[in-house]
């Protein structure tokens, strides 16, 4: 392959983990995304693609999580939104 035409990972976002009560799944998405954006050192409006990794069904007291919801709460307007299948 032409290595100059390839792609790279440039930022990683972590969150508190383990037993973190009182939080929704959405809130963990938002914190991880925000930290990844800051880690890469780019403005958030540069993010024009969002893929939510495959996930398990939401608990009964939460709405199923969608990439649209994540983008909306991050305040970004990606050209491409996708939900990876499990």
């Amino acid at each position: 392959m032409d290595r100059e035409k390839t792609h790279a990972i440039v930022g990683v976002g972590y969150t508190p983990q383990g037993r973190v009560p009182g939080r929704t799944s959405l809130s963990f998405h938002l914190e991880a995304c925000t930290n990844a954006i800051n880690d890469a050192g780019i403005p958030k409006d540069h993010i024009d693609g969002l893929i939510c990794y495959r996930h398990f069904p939401a608990p009964s007291d939460e709405n199923d999580l969608t990439p649209h919801l994540v983008a909306q709460h991050l305040g970004i307007e990606p050209n491409y939104l996708s939900q990876d299948a499990n």
């Binding site: 792609h7 990683v12 983990q17 973190v20 799944s25 963990f28 995304c33 890469a40 996930h55």
Partner: protein, 290 residues
């Protein structure tokens, strides 16, 4: 998307309040479908079925898996962010722990945790202008022979991991001998054994001797799951292995950093895996420094 110019920076995200809600436990331990009438409950039961069959067909079992669980716990003890940091585990601890679904003991199972993880991907050209050393995606492979384990032609492999790995290595223009470390999707210890077996590091039944030399732990010749993995760091689907491979390539792992800090090889090439369903859907990524 990046090549087509549709996107410049793609964010991949995972988040789950899995510990503080019931949804993951339900998937792991509750009815899987009509096959529950035959005693098949949840994903843990499915993996236990496959692991039990492997024990019957060739030499594997707790004496192999203990090496995986203990080595990953040793890595977690070098990672202050890992859930099992500060909780060392011996072979004796492993072998005396309780079964979840026999033959899988508690430390054979991934963690169930609250939390999230995300990574950002862009072109290498843009990556060079950013602050971290780029973790370059050199090769990718996917192979999904079947959807359900009940449709699978084999319970014990080779799985789709074999072809996914061949495709990824070929795209990267490297061979297995060039691989410095692996970050393997580890929902269960047996998944690590089967994936590395299908990647060709050893033959069926040879895992026990391959793992027994401290091969995958700190100081080993083929480090695996250096954050502690999903068994001992935290569970974020494929983003646990992918994010750790990235951090290792970037050189940001401090006490657990591959290289002189852990008497291991400097990581130029890391193999990363993910697997979905019960050993049915497989992807492999070659991540590297260039």
């Amino acid at each position: 998307m990046l090549d087509a110019g549709l996107c410049r920076y793609v964010l991949i995200s995972y988040g789950h309040n899995a510990f503080s809600s019931a949804s993951l436990f339900t998937m792991l331990m509750d009815f899987a479908g009509d096959d529950a009438v035959f005693g098949h409950f949840g994903a843990t039961g499915g993996y236990a079925l496959a692991a039990r069959r492997a024990m019957h067909e060739f030499n594997t079992g707790p004496q192999t898996w203990k090496h995986i669980a203990v080595a990953q716990r040793a890595w977690a003890n070098l990672n202050p962010h890992a859930m099992m940091h500060g909780k060392p585990m011996s072979f004796g601890d492993y072998l005396s722990s309780k079964y979840v679904v026999e033959p899988l003991r508690l430390p054979d199972n991934c963690l169930v945790n609250d939390g999230g993880r995300a990574v950002i991907i862009t072109t290498l050209e843009r990556a060079r202008d950013l602050r971290h050393r780029p973790a370059v995606i050199l090769g990718l492979g996917q192979h999904n022979p079947s959807v359900q384990v009940t449709q699978s032609g084999t319970l014990t492999g080779s799985t789709g991991a074999r072809k996914a790995c061949e495709t990824a290595l070929s795209m990267a223009g490297v061979t297995r001998d060039d691989v410095d470390a692996c970050q393997i999707y580890d929902c269960f210890t047996y998944t690590v054994e089967l994936t590395l077996q299908d990647y060709g590091f050893f033959g069926p039944g040879e895992g026990e001797s391959w793992f027994s030399e401290g091969t995958i732990g700190p100081g080993g010749r083929m480090p695996v799951n250096t954050s502690g993995g999903q068994l001992s760091e935290a569970y974020y689907m494929g983003l646990t292995p992918l994010s750790e491979a990235t951090m290792q390539i970037m050189g940001r792992c401090k006490d657990r950093q591959l290289g002189p800090a852990t008497q291991t090889k400097e990581p130029s090439i890391i193999l990363v895996s993910d697997n979905g369903g019960i050993l049915q859907a497989h992807s492999c990524c070659v991540l590297g420094r260039i």
